[in-house]
């Protein structure tokens, strides 16, 4: 089969980076499987319970970089109890035991303890990169261990984690000899930080290109840091507040004029609108701007800022920008590829929101747009149809109408036709989230047209089992399906049980499936873990037979039931 020596094939494989491609390559023949597995450096595990660490290490002994994902996505919205699982400890223990030369660890929605962080920092001499996204279970003491022990640390990136903050000393734990930092992101930490130690760390890190500060870093420290690190490409400001009389803002503006490498800007965790003018110097070169954590900036200040950002490709913003502001974005940011509009006042009266008008304007003005997350007050079918016509490039389309079952306010119709137009027009759509009043019809459209769809999020939608069945039958590439509060029951769940082995996972909460249905599924499909998460307050049933399941999470696995499930989780 091989016309080349193994080394040549291995060299060719070096050019194949994506794990999907590598997986495909490994299936060609035994020889390629063998060569690929020995040469694979980066391993991606989308569900930490689908496989065991031992088996991963056995197959990929040369692995250097590991990515693990734990809890289901709905954990982000408090739908998964705190101690459900996703512990990284057994993975770290196995990596240590088998002397894997780990250099990079990326975790998402997992639980990692200080002990694990310390173990990590001491066991892997060449450890370079730690990225933790939406993780929990650790404190700044664990970060101190990483800082102190990882001699060649390049990247420490903490995004949206729940960290118990024992106050700033961890940053002092980077030894004076540590000069290798390229990326440092601690924006999610809530506590104070040792500012002097931080400044010194930046001063001795000539390769630092990405720095995201937390809210404890005041404006004057930021200005001094920027003096030392004009080479920064990615900046997350801390607190952007100052006393107008102090002149700190003009000093910052002057410093920023020298920072002509900045392309990504975020932070503004606390900001007063008058400070925003300080960043105008960097706006003209910005590719990516995240103002979504900045409360209380009025639409017109945002508009003035945006008008300077003609090269923006990614914009994350609050809905206080308003439809009018989105109109300005549409006319200014012609390179825009990704837009996220977050709610600033979701429980309020609906004054500071956006509507379908803003989205239509964006779709008309930004031809390169392919990724959208849009929280809005309302949406119409006509608007969605127009958006679909204007923008057929969407790969990710997530629409969240704040009232989850709101119909088209003009016609009072469900939004089936609107979303139908989106899936029909956007042939490369991979991710879709629905909201608003929706019947089974929208699922018929999705099943028919969304051929590339990999992830679908459904809430408060559909009329009957047919809805879910349209999706399961039609979307051949579906990997993740998450459903809440929709009337899909056992028939939908059980009609095509083999489908779930082609998917990573299925989440159903507050639907019509019952315990009996889940048990039948579990029995038919031993390769699935069917978990019942039992913290829901269901209606007291009148008979055992119709016990509705509050939350069910199922996923394919090669290693059977997990042994670390808490008492409120039952694996059928």
């Amino acid at each position: 089969m091989n016309y080349f020596p193994d080394e040549v094939i291995e060299h060719v494989f070096d050019f194949i980076a994506s794990h999907k491609d590598r997986n495909a390559v490994s299936l060609v023949c035994k020889s390629w499987y063998k060569i690929e597995r020995i040469s694979r450096r980066r391993v991606f595990i989308g569900n930490c319970y689908a496989i065991s660490p031992e088996r991963v290490i056995e197959r990929f002994p040369e692995l250097k970089s590991l990515t693990l994902k734990g809890k289901p996505h709905f954990a982000d919205f408090n739908l998964v109890p705190h101690d459900w699982g996703g512990f990284v400890q057994p993975w770290i223990e196995a990596l240590v035991k088998h002397r894997v030369g780990l250099e990079e660890l990326r975790l998402k929605r997992m639980v990692i303890s200080d002990e694990s962080l310390e173990r990590l920092s001491k066991a892997f001499v060449n450890f370079k990169t730690l990225v933790l996204v939406s993780c929990e279970g650790f404190t700044t003491d664990g970060l101190a261990a990483i800082a102190a022990n990882c001699r060649f640390l390049r990247e420490l990136d903490l995004q949206e984690n729940e960290v118990e903050d024992h106050r700033g000393h961890w940053i002092s734990c980077f030894p004076e000899s540590c000069t290798s930092l390229v990326s440092l992101n601690f924006a999610c930490l809530k506590g104070d930080i040792n500012l002097t130690a931080l400044e010194r760390l930046v001063a001795r890190s000539p390769n630092l290109t990405s720095l995201r500060l937390n809210r404890a870093v005041p404006l004057d420290t930021l200005q001094r840091i920027l003096m030392r690190a004009p080479q920064l490409v990615d900046l997350g400001t801390g607190s952007f507040l100052h006393d107008p009389a102090s002149g700190a803002s003009s000093k910052l503006k002057a410093t920023l004029l020298k920072c002509n490498s900045i392309r990504t800007l975020s932070g503004f965790l606390e900001v007063s609108p008058r400070c925003l003018t300080a960043i105008y110097p960097v706006c003209q070169n910005l590719n990516s701007l995240n103002l979504s954590y900045a409360p209380g900036i009025h639409g017109h200040d945002l508009i003035k800022l945006i008008q300077h950002c003609r090269k923006l490709e990614r914009l994350w913003i609050l809905d206080s920008i308003g439809d009018k502001g989105l109109g300005v974005v549409a006319s200014t940011c012609k390179e825009l590829q990704e837009l996220r509009v977050f709610p600033s006042d979701p429980y309020g009266a609906g004054n500071a929101t956006v509507t379908e008008e803003g989205l239509v304007a964006i779709s008309a003005g930004c031809p390169k747009l392919h990724s959208l997350l849009y929280f809005c007050q309302q949406m119409t079918n006509a608007a969605l149809i127009t958006v679909a016509k204007n923008c057929s490039n969407f790969t990710r389309f997530r629409l969240c109408i704040l009232d989850p079952i709101k119909p088209d306010p003009v016609t009072m119709q469900p939004l089936d036709e609107g979303f139908g137009a989106i899936v029909q027009s956007c042939k490369r759509l991979r991710r879709l989230s629905l909201s608003g009043l929706l019947t089974d019809q929208v699922f018929l459209y999705i099943g028919m047209y969304a051929e590339q769809l990999e992830m679908l999020s459904i809430a408060f939608a559909g009329n009957s089992d047919k809805g879910m069945l349209y999706v399961l039958n039609g979307c051949k590439k579906l990997r993740k399906l998450e459903i809440r509060d929709s009337p899909f029951g056992n028939t939908a769940l059980l009609t095509d049980v083999g489908k779930y082995e082609t998917m990573r996972s299925l989440w159903m909460s507050s639907c019509e499936i019952t315990l009996v249905g889940c048990e039948i599924l579990a029995k038919k499909m031993p390769m699935l873990n069917v978990e019942i998460i039992n913290d829901e307050d269901d209606i007291a049933p009148s008979s055992e037979d119709i016990l509705r399941v509050g939350k069910m999470y199922l996923y394919r696995t090669l290693v059977g039931s997990r042994k670390d499930a808490p008492w409120f989780v039952d694996i059928l």
Binding site: F77, L79, S292, P295, S320, F342, S344, L437, A461, S543
Partner: protein, 246 residues
């Protein structure tokens, strides 16, 4: 600390409004919600919601909606108006899953089921038994002592199907004198409860009224797992604390 910045899903407790509380059914001693701390326009939905298909409660009262990560909630303009409870330990973050009511909305022919939870009144509490995926509920108001409660739970989880109606089966004076196997240690299961501080205790050690005021949920636990459970002041080391508390 349990659920410091991320809301614990166990936080919901209190009285579930029963059919008696809805305006459609006559009741003259309906009490207003204890924690009507959300801005007034929102809470009024509680009082007037019908129990068949009608307008649902506003989105603020649905758990996990809108789907925004907890870390974003500090940028909300009106977070101060979020519902809070007197023993809310989570702090200033909006704590929707603790206090919000949950609505099951079924579009179509089925009637909507509505459950509202408010802190302060003990009535129905959740009961789970190890090894059984679906929990049940028991009305503590229907009992005056531990024995009748324990017998009811025995019927519910160990008994024959026809005795599965908890309300009403808790009566019987002779039950009160007959010790329940869940309380006397003779069974492989033991009855435990979670109190307001999140600790798990053996049922039966404190006076009944004190128990009523501190119980949040019940669990029928395997006796082998109950070792180390002590009444009152000792903290239980459980697998729940395996992940370091945040």
């Amino acid at each position: 600390m349990r659920g410091k910045s991320k809301a614990s899903a166990w936080g919901e407790c209190g009285r579930i409004l029963t059919a008696k509380d809805f305006p459609c059914v006559v009741n003259n001693n309906r009490s207003p919600p204890v924690n009507a701390s959300v801005s007034g326009t929102k809470r009024s939905a509680v009082d007037s919601v019908p129990h068949d298909t009608g307008s649902p409660p506003p989105p603020s009262q649905v758990v996990g909606w809108p789907p925004v990560g907890t870390h974003r909630k500090s940028s909300f303009v009106n977070q101060a108006k979020a519902p809070r409870s007197e023993d809310d330990k989570v702090g200033s973050e909006i704590d929707k899953s603790k206090d919000a009511s949950k609505k099951k909305i079924c579009n179509g022919n089925k009637s909507s089921h509505v459950i509202f939870k408010e802190k302060g009144h003990i009535g129905f509490v959740k009961v789970n038994m190890d090894g059984i995926p679906i929990g049940r509920k028991v009305d503590l108001n229907a009992h005056a002592c531990y024995q009748t409660l324990a017998h009811t739970l025995e019927d519910m989880f160990f008994g024959t199907p026809k005795s599965i109606n908890p309300v009403g089966s808790g009566g019987g004076k002779d039950l009160a004198t007959n010790p329940s196997k869940l309380l006397d240690g003779s069974s492989e299961f033991v009855l435990t409860y979670e109190d307001k501080e999140g600790d798990w205790m053996l049922v039966g050690d404190v006076p009944w009224r004190m128990f009523l005021s501190s119980v949040k949920r019940l669990r029928i636990m395997r006796t082998s797992e109950a070792n180390g459970l002590a009444p009152r002041f000792q903290e239980r080391t459980s697998e729940r604390q395996r992940a370091k508390p945040v």
